[in-house]
């Protein structure tokens, strides 16, 4: 197991590098909005990490990319007809079928002899990925298409109003798994999607977070350099659905990683690699207190016990991935 340290939003983490060739990102100089791969004017919430991550992904992937997008916040907010935020060929069909649509795009490019040099990305939120679209993603992985699937995980059905998904964390309160007299919210842990994908025998399955933009972009480039099906699971805090401050999106995302609740790692050909190890691992309570979806854990009798259980989830992740080892 190799390791990296969080590069993250620290002052000395990076300095802008001179762009090679045509400017592709905002960092590399001013690009007029209408010439961007992901243009402003989208209708995402202030502080939305999903749209942030989506911009980082396409800017890393570059202009020779075709995207198939599931229904969800990302689709609705970026393509209010007749406007689009996308500067690459982009298609939305349905809630659950981006992986299959992308499979068809790949087949069409191969049939035309035009696949070489073109990246294909299928993407969607956690609901369309771990729940309703899972079978189609599994089919895409099993068939071996040269496609990167990106899941933007904001841990509930945000587009429809914060209903639970298979990626909602243990004891988060959502509108369909509310806390109440008899409940601490969603009583099931997150579906282990990166592992499910890796179990298909694909060459690359990884996690990333919008809070670590440069790690995320590095992984997009790495994934796209590998032939075959790839999976990238990106944690994207949702200030609206997590009942948190817009300005705190990145801080919350960082805490998820540092506490061990959303560990960052890669699975290359079935082997866990490049685990991001926090300098110190704060207690999960630091993370939970930033969001009102966990508020009941601190106001309801028995909440402390649940917090311990959540700490155990983080500790288990830490043990599994060696987060605490130096």
């Amino acid at each position: 197991m190799t390791q990296t340290t969080p590069e993250a939003a620290t002052p000395n983490a990076a300095t802008a590098k001179a762009p090679a060739g045509k400017p592709k990102t905002l960092k590399e100089g001013y690009i007029p909005p209408k010439e961007r791969l992901f243009a402003p004017g989208h209708r995402g919430c202030a502080g939305c990490a999903e749209l942030l991550a989506a911009r980082l992904v396409i800017e890393a992937a570059g202009p020779n990319t075709i995207i198939a997008n599931n229904t969800g916040c990302l689709e609705v907010t970026t393509t209010p007809y007749p406007e689009s935020s996308w500067g690459v060929p982009w298609i939305h069909s349905l809630f659950e079928n981006a992986a299959a649509v992308a499979s068809g795009i790949e087949a069409a490019l191969i049939a035309q002899g035009k696949k070489e040099g073109i990246n294909i990305i299928a993407q969607g939120g956690d609901g369309s990925t771990v729940d309703i679209g899972l079978g189609l993603i599994s089919g895409m992985m099993e068939r071996g298409h040269d496609i990167l699937y990106v899941c933007y995980d904001n841990e509930a059905y945000m587009n429809t109003g914060v209903q639970r998904s298979g990626a909602t964390p243990f004891c988060a309160s959502t509108t369909t798994s509310p806390s109440g007299e008899l409940s601490f919210g969603n009583m099931r842990p997150k579906k282990p999607m990166p592992e499910i994908m890796a179990a298909h025998g694909i060459p690359y399955s990884a996690t990333a977070s919008a809070a670590y933009p440069r790690d995320l972009q590095k992984k997009v480039k790495k994934a796209l350099s590998i032939k075959g099906p790839k999976y990238l699971h990106v944690h994207v805090p949702c200030p609206t659905g997590w009942y948190a401050e817009s300005a705190d999106t990145i801080k919350i995302g960082r805490l998820a990683v540092e506490t061990g609740l959303f560990p960052i790692y890669e699975i290359e050909n079935g082997v866990v690699t490049n685990v991001m190890k926090p300098k110190k691992r704060p207690p999960v309570e630091d993370y939970l207190r930033t969001q009102n979806r966990f508020k009941h854990l601190f106001s309801k009798e028995g909440g402390a016990e649940v917090v311990k259980q959540i700490q155990a989830i983080a500790d288990k992740n830490a043990q599994r991935l060696g987060l605490d080892s130096k």
Binding site: I91, L94, A100, G104
Partner: protein, 398 residues
């Protein structure tokens, strides 16, 4: 290579025609009785007779999505399914039509669950009439063979840009061997040029497909879809005409009229049962009865004016169909009645027949003609008439 005039299975007749049309991406999921079509196509790909990407998917939902993506990326696409498979595709099929993608689908008509039943009726495709797909029904293997290039040609016409499905009765046509005159590759190539999409997913011009339409545009976009379906009618007529000229056939584009010119009692039907009905018509004609058949070929768009013209002279029209709108009547019967709304016309009877593979033999068809004659000048009943219903096994209403 197969001789050009040969006895082949109906599934092979369609597969061979699809091969001749040079699709670039095929995706499908096997389901009885569509299986032989996709098996034949898979073998053609495996043998190098068909240069095409064949994507085997984990479900019909995925197969429809794969051809959607491929079509949006600018290539000629084909899929085939039936019954539950078509229903599993339902959401995607509406999406394909709304996206104006010229996908060609063969539906091997089969009954729908429950109860589960693998045999033929047409409830599956008729249930999809509202989606924006053009729909053509076939009587025999020759038609399903010939209609493939016509389907691609119409669908891909830049003024049409619509998906199309051709229907063949499951088992009755898919699994039956009969003589077919296979088309010649050179003629197919001359009739059906390579597909040139108007728009496609292309990094050189990165368009956004499938944007989120709000109330200020959705209404108009759906208007345009309906306008396109309606507007496809002359294009379909032209495609049939050119086909007839190229291949020496004699297809009427919207419906085939059989001994109907002076008929007092007509049956209107669609699909393979029309062959049996023609035999019944001949027998009744030799008995001196003025009966005939109108075989509806194109269900969407509905050729209302042509229906009026074809049916107008009869006193009674019995619509014999293998489907029903529960709580209403046969779906085609309602459509036929709509063609006469506000016009004087014949008495239109709705016959529900042959569900789930129930055979419709000549004597049953003759019975329909005889019963129908008795409705001359009378108001048709509100409820559909069930042909060959075995009332002895139906319990009383509880």
């Amino acid at each position: 290579m197969m001789p050009r005039k040969t006895v082949v299975e109906g599934s092979m007749a369609v597969a061979e025609a699809v091969r001749l049309c040079r699709p670039q991406v095929i995706s499908a999921y096997p389901i009885t009785p569509q299986t032989h079509i996709v098996e034949d196509l898979s073998k053609m790909v495996a043998d190098g007779e068909l240069r095409c990407e064949f994507v085997n998917t984990e479900s019909e939902f995925a197969a429809a999505s794969v051809v959607l993506g491929a079509s949006a990326a600018g290539v000629r696409t084909y899929t085939a399914t039936t019954s539950q498979g078509l229903f599993l595709m339902f959401e995607v099929l509406y999406n394909i039509a709304g996206s104006r993608l010229p996908i060609n689908l063969t539906c091997a008509n089969r009954a729908v669950s429950a109860p589960i039943n693998i045999w033929n009726d047409q409830q599956d495709s008729v249930s999809l009439r509202d989606a924006g797909w053009l729909q053509l029904y076939c009587e025999d293997a020759q038609e399903i063979h010939d209609f493939q290039p016509i389907a691609f040609k119409v669908a891909e016409d830049p003024r049409v840009r619509l998906p199309i499905m051709t229907m063949m009765d499951g088992f009755v046509l898919t699994h039956t061997y009969e003589p077919v005159e296979l088309m010649d590759q050179e003629l197919v190539d001359s009739y059906l040029p390579a597909y040139k999409p108007v728009v496609k997913l292309d990094v050189a011009h990165p368009l956004t497909f499938g944007a989120f339409a709000q109330p200020n545009t959705y209404h108009e976009i759906r208007y345009m879809l309906n306008r396109a379906v309606m507007g496809a009618k002359p294009k379909i007529a032209a495609a049939f005409k050119e086909f007839n000229e190229t291949f020496g056939r004699d297809y009427a584009p919207f419906m085939e009229e059989y001994r109907s010119e002076d008929a007092d009692v007509l049956v209107l039907s669609l699909g393979s049962v029309c062959g049996t009905i023609k035999d019944a018509v001949d027998e009744l004609r030799t008995e001196g009865q003025k009966v005939g058949l109108v075989k509806l070929r194109m269900h969407r768009p509905l050729p209302k004016a042509e229906l009026r013209k074809a049916l107008d002279r009869a006193s009674v029209v019995a619509v014999v169909e293998k489907d029903i709108s529960m709580g209403q009547e046969g779906i085609i019967a309602t459509d036929v009645k709509s063609a006469f709304a506000g016009h004087d016309g014949p008495t239109v009877l709705s016959y529900v027949a042959g569900l789930g593979g129930r055979d419709v033999p000549v004597p049953d068809v003759k019975k329909v003609f005889k019963e129908a004659a008795a409705w001359k000048g009378r108001q048709a009943p509100d409820d559909p008439i069930w042909l060959g219903l075995n009332t002895g096994i139906i319990p009383e209403v509880q």
